[in-house]
Amino acid sequence: MRDALLDRDVYEPEEGEIMEVSMGPHHPSTHGVFRMDVKLEGERVVKLKPVFGYLHRNHEKIAEHGAYLSAIPYTDRLDYLCSMTNNWGYVLAVEKLAGIAVPERAEYLRVIVAELTRFQNHAGLIGFLLQDMGASGTPLMYAFREREKILDLFESLSGARMMCNYMRFGGLRVDATKEWLDEVRALVGRLPQFVDEYEALLRANEILLARTQGTGVLPRELAINTGVTGPMLRASGVNYDIRKVDHYGIYDRFTFKVPLGEHGDVYDRYMMRLLEMRETLKLLEQALHDIPEGPVMDPKVRLRGLRPKAGEAYGRIESPKGELGFFLISDGSGNPYRYRVRPPSMINLTILEDMCVGENIADTVIILGSVDIVLGEVDR
């Protein structure tokens, strides 16, 4: 009787039999509405196609119909975890297009809020990645505890925790008070301890090492050719950080290192975020020490009626996820003729299939987790 039941219930795939699995769009590991069409041979992935567009609202068309100023709040909603860096990418492109200079104090404040954003993004990402690996709850809650403090600072500065809408071409919307800067200094003083604690929590955990080392390897040449950027590219050993290459803003004034990986596997990508969090704290300390007094907005910039002369510009920054670029074409009118976002999350997905083929189905979850995508930016 028992044997008969087993015969019926246990499914034994035949040699070479392919099973198709559609992971998502409502799968908890996909960080939003994202689908992977996976073909499996046993548990091994033989083919994987990412499917997205579920959150598509044609952000670019919306921005082309509005004035230059009115696109800024929409950029908050691209990568909704990092609205400050999204703002910066866009205003940088407009500043290049119209030839606008930014006051000193605004440059420093931009670095401060962008690096805080990078810190909370990486902390959150590691939390989610460990959650995907099965370290349920604790690491994510640790990350969110610190993230919440940073979001509180954003709220007291800009009025919103996540949709900050803080930067303007030619400067910033509001100045930071002395008290706010003191709060940031106090927080930055406490954060190294948090990174130590967070690293000690699981870095040398046996299960984590077994699951991440050698999984989802991305070779160096392939990473370059596929346009992968950000921590994922540097985990494969390519020294390319736009803060160092372009020196946009005032990044040439600070000393910081660019951590590099060796193997390009999930473990390297995980460590890359931890190391970048430490470098971010170094940057924050220097910026908070050097920040001068002064205005944060160029009063001559026409925010509402900006009409750059005909031409085009591509501005890019190192967002926490990679190269975030904005390409603008002006025809001399008050709204952009062409507005284009280069979304790092989407382009980093080009490589997903190559990393997953040959791995177990369970590992696709952590490989996707280590790419660090936000669907608001992938789908736009």
């Binding site: 997205f52 567009g53 598509h56 044609n58 670019e60 068309k61 290049k96 297009l97 119209a98 030839g99 392939l222 370059i224 050719n225 596929t226 346009g227 992968v228 390519v238 390319y240 290459v245 750059p308 002369k309 005909a310 031409g311 085009e312 510009a313 591509y314 501005g315 890019r316 190269e323 670029g325 390409f327 074409i329 002006s330 062409r338 284009r340 280069r342 989407m346 382009i347 997905l349 080009t350 789908d379 736009r380």
Partner: protein, 202 residues
Amino acid sequence: MALPSPEDLKAQIEAGVPGASVTVIQNGSPSAQHSLLLDAEHARAVAELLRDHDGWRLDYCSLVTGVDWPDTETSEKVKVKKMVKAADGTESEEEVEEVRKTKVAGYLEAVYHLFSMEKKHGPVVLRLRTADRGASVHLPSLTPVWRGAEFQEREAFDLYGIIFDGHPDLRRILMWEGFKDYPMRKDYVPPADEIPVVEVHR
């Protein structure tokens, strides 16, 4: 080593790829990012040259996008001499103002921004143009040269309707399969929201 100026780049490309014709397109904005317009026939060979040239090594294709330039119509007033019949039947030559309209055919454009990760320079901006916006919207795909263009060319196909020949997997990417139109084109009219008739049963 810095990149050569767009004019030098044009000269070196035309020397390196026989038959290629490159036009430098000036950019009037303070960013001064000038671009190179390539002919579609030699675009792949030029792209390979740009990637593999020892001095340039443009190994990284950052941004690919479509741009729509619709048909334009310019009208100008021209004075034309015409024979005019007066009321009494005599003909005389008079100058008459006429509005003459000239149609300029629009086109779709694909723009590529290239950087070098090895040499850490860039951008070099490439442009490719289709013949028109209707039947011949084919361009060569540069995905075989830089795989980073794969998803973005698919997006330009999806939203602008540019057909990239040689692309390994040209399908819609953001809109759904079966969607008919190209929403990023300038003449796209979004369908009016249909309000469903709801019958209320009491």
